[in-house]
């Protein structure tokens, strides 16, 4: 190593006005001449300083990389994850409010108390999630959230107008509800969806960044290892001792640091990768499945609320059902979720899938009745309660999806925690090992240099 420094110094000396005159060294012989000219203690000094510098550099880089990773993991656990959960809450609460308001509207007379309560809770959740989400959003997402914030009071106003007209028994109420739902489905939900997707992408990016291969550190460690081997060969040749205890110790320290870091980083990266694939990605898919099913439920009710002029809502229902389980019942969000989910989660998702298939079948019966002019029985079928009723089927689908979503969210958290704990102590360990390596190098060279005094 230091032998390479010498010619570099010569070359960087710029124009060689005197050196050319005194020693016009031929280029090829420069290295050998420099080494020959240098006496052994000086060479040892240079090698020792080089090794110490390299060790410090590699150690610092490794410590910095580990600290950066820990910070990213910490961010996933304490910021990204919770923000993602808030975005999910907003997205879901809005879709749920839409579906609940439409279902409640179909009831004869005043709406059932539990549906009214659910709607009010959804609005409360959406408002709370909005204020939290606005705090952490970047400019573009803040603009989207502002659309939702601007329209939410307009939306609730329309729903209440619909409700009071419905109570006084004039058909105008249905028209207001349809307008409210159009606002929700065409303006508010798409804005919330983009914000949700962005939060998910951010968490996934953090997870990926924190699990990538540390190229720079690996390179520095490799160079240090090479330098240690070279130094040992040099010392062995000059001192005629096969082993220098200091350098051997330094090498062992380096190997130890390497093994520890490799193990800890691999485990941590694995955990994060599981957190991303079976956590964050699965959360995205399940949230979209939940949104699609809620929107489909809203449109199913609206088709009946529209009383004969609901073709446009039926078209949306079909589109959302296709989004959920595919036209053939074997693709769509739920099939994708099944692929992403680990075996343990699949039971819930399969349940959701079965209920979705049942629902589509029952929806067909509702449509046959309504299209055949039997609106009363169609509404009865759509709003009936009981274990086999359509609303119970939808309820089970929704519950299964929510359950699977909870598990996936928890996984993001847990995997981030265990990724963090895999790195625990590594920073301090690396600092100590770096100090150890430097000390071993110094202790290894000191007696050799002393021999020449």
């Amino acid at each position: 190593m230091p032998t390479q420094l010498a010619p570099a110094e010569v070359r960087t000396a710029g124009k060689p006005p005197r050196s050319t005159a005194v020693s016009p060294a031929p280029k090829a012989g420069l290295l050998t001449r420099a080494r020959d000219r240098m006496n052994t203690p000086r060479l040892y000094w240079l090698v020792a300083i080089g090794l110490v510098a390299l060790g410090l550099l590699a150690g610092t880089a490794a410590v910095a990389a580990v600290r950066e990773r820990s910070a990213l993991i910490q961010d996933v656990a304490t910021v990204g994850g919770p923000v993602s959960v808030d975005a999910q809450t907003l997205y879901r609460a809005l879709a749920d409010a839409d579906a609940t308001a439409a279902t409640a509207f179909l009831a004869r007379g005043a709406e059932p108390a539990h549906l009214r309560q659910r709607y009010l809770d959804d609005i409360a959740k959406a408002t709370a999630a909005l204020t939290v989400a606005l705090r952490g959003a970047d400019d573009a997402d803040a603009a989207r959230l502002r659309v939702v914030a601007d329209q939410l009071p307009v939306y609730t106003g329309l729903v209440e107008t619909a409700r009071s007209y419905q109570r006084s028994g004039v058909p105008l109420g249905g028209a207001y509800l349809r307008e409210a739902s159009a606002l929700m489905q065409q303006t508010m939900l798409p804005a919330a969806a983009v914000v949700f997707d962005n939060t998910q992408r951010r968490v996934a990016a953090e997870q990926e960044d924190a699990s990538g291969f540390p190229w720079l550190v690996a390179l520095l460690v490799l160079v240090t290892a090479g330098a240690l081997v070279a130094a040992q060969l040099l010392v062995a040749r000059r001192s005629r001792r096969v082993f220098n205890p200091g350098l051997v110790a330094a090498s062992l320290v380096l190997v130890l640091a390497l093994l520890w870091s490799a193990a800890a980083l691999t485990v941590s990266a694995n955990r994060l990768d599981i957190g991303r694939r079976e956590g964050t990605d699965l959360v995205s898919t399940l949230s979209n499945a939940g949104r699609a099913s809620l929107q489909a439920r809203a449109n199913e009710s609206l088709t009946l609320v529209a009383r004969g002029s609901g073709a446009v809502f039926e078209k949306s229902f079909t589109a959302q059902m296709t989004e959920l389980i595919g036209a053939d019942g074997t693709s769509g969000w739920l099939a994708e979720a099944l692929e992403q989910a680990p075996e343990g989660d699949r039971q819930l998702i399969r349940e959701a899938h079965d209920e979705a298939l049942r629902w589509r079948e029952m929806h067909g019966e509702v449509r046959t009745l309504d299209d055949g002019g039997d609106w009363d029985r169609a509404v009865e079928l759509a709003t009936a309660t009981g274990d086999d009723a359509l609303s119970a089927v939808f309820g089970r689908l929704d519950a299964a999806l929510t359950g699977a979503l909870d598990v996936a969210n928890e996984r993001v958290d847990r995997q981030a925690d265990s990724a963090a704990s895999a790195l625990r102590g590594l920073t301090a360990g690396l600092v100590l090992l770096t100090v150890g390596l430097v000390a071993a190098v110094v202790l290894g060279f000191r007696p050799r240099i002393g021999e020449y005094r």
């Binding site: 004869r108 007379g109 603009a143 502002r146 601007d150 329209q151 307009v154 939306y155 329309l158 007209y165 419905q166 109570r167 006084s168 028994g169 004039v170 058909p171 105008l172 249905g174 028209a175 207001y176 349809r178 307008e179 409210a180 739902s181 159009a182 606002l183 065409q186 303006t187 529209a306 009383r307 004969g308 002029s309 073709a311 446009v312 809502f313 309504d370 055949g372 002019g373 039997d374 609106w375 009363d376």
Partner: protein
């Protein structure tokens, strides 16, 4: 004195420049926020105006004359559409569920009620002797002709205007209620007629003759179309349109839901409403006309009219039948 004024104005200019929008950053200012108005789903603004096919010349009111005495309920002549309906056990009628006073849901019972619902029940009574042997099928304005052509319903009683153009696709009974296209506006805004609506938005349902009539007005209003007349009332209440224009009997149903609106303006069309029947079912048309004759004669028509419409539209006689 003069210098101080110059210095003062310079200072003012500097200050004003300093306070202006800095560097063109367009950070949204809360005080600048404005409301955006929502819209019902599927609004077309401006509306697509249905093209008027070369309408043949005819008397749209002229229907087929009843033949002989009306067959007794439960004893329909064999081979007729009525016999087929009797065998089926119920009369399928395409109706409107959203037309207040004409066909709508009673909020308490959830039952379909209204002027046209009662008309349909009278038809069922004439065929079965039972006014309840009727199955209602809610259809859109645009669906009226297709459901007849595809025989998905036996008849359509849904304020369907008799026109020569439609006579080529379906058959009609004699006129069962007279109507004219007029305007529904917000009270006290100075709009009295189509002449006051130049370049202003006027709403009607998609594919209806009303859209064509609005577009044809000399004052050039802008037609806006929706899926249902109720959506038009929503737009009127939200001030997104300045008037709703369709037949006066439907407008009366809208005005009844919002007392701050009123039906005004000279009639711009004459739109007799007839019961739509699939083309080629002449026996059925003659039978329905016979039933209508009977309802006019025995005051059934007046009883139903008074029950639903008299308080809104004033007293009226049944429209006279016109035959070919």
């Amino acid at each position: 004195m003069k210098t101080t004024r110059v210095v003062a104005s310079l200072l003012l200019i500097t200050l004003a420049a300093g306070c202006g929008p800095a560097g063109g950053t367009d950070r949204p200012v809360a005080a600048d926020a404005t409301a955006t108005v929502p819209r019902p789903v599927n609004v077309a603004d401006p509306a697509e105006v249905p093209s008027a096919a070369a309408a043949p010349n005819c008397d749209p009111r002229a229907s087929f004359r009843p033949e002989g005495p009306l067959p007794k309920a439960g004893a329909m002549p064999a081979g007729t559409p009525m016999a087929r309906i009797a065998a089926k056990g119920r009369l399928v009628v395409g109706i409107d569920q959203n037309a207040y006073l004409f066909g709508f849901r009673d909020p308490e019972s959830g039952e379909l009620v209204g002027f046209e619902i009662d008309m349909a029940r009278e038809m069922a009574r004439a065929i079965f002797g039972d006014p309840n042997k009727v199955q209602f099928r809610a259809i859109t304005t645009a669906d009226r002709i297709p459901v007849l052509q595809n025989h998905q319903v036996d008849m359509v009683i849904r304020t369907m205007t008799m026109t020569c153009e439609r006579w080529q696709q379906v058959a009609f009974s004699t006129e069962y209620i007279a109507s004219r296209q007029r305007l529904l506006v917000r009270r006290n805004e100075g709009i009295k007629d189509f002449a006051d609506l130049a370049n202003r938005k006027v709403c009607a349902t998609r594919g209806s003759t009303s859209i064509r009539t609005i577009a044809a007005q000399p004052s050039k209003p802008i037609p806006v179309s929706t899926d249902s007349t109720l959506d038009c009332l929503v737009l009127l209440q939200q001030r997104q349109v300045d008037a709703v224009s369709t037949i006066d009997i439907l407008l009366a149903g809208l005005a009844a839901q919002d007392p701050t609106t009123e039906v005004i303006g000279a009639p711009v069309s004459d739109e007799p409403a007839g019961i739509g029947i699939p083309q080629g079912e002449e026996d059925m048309v003659r039978f329905v006309n016979g039933v209508l004759e009977k309802m006019r004669a025995d005051a059934t028509w007046t009883r139903i009219y008074d029950k639903w419409l008299r308080s809104r539209l004033g007293a009226a006689d049944p429209p006279a039948a016109v035959y070919r």
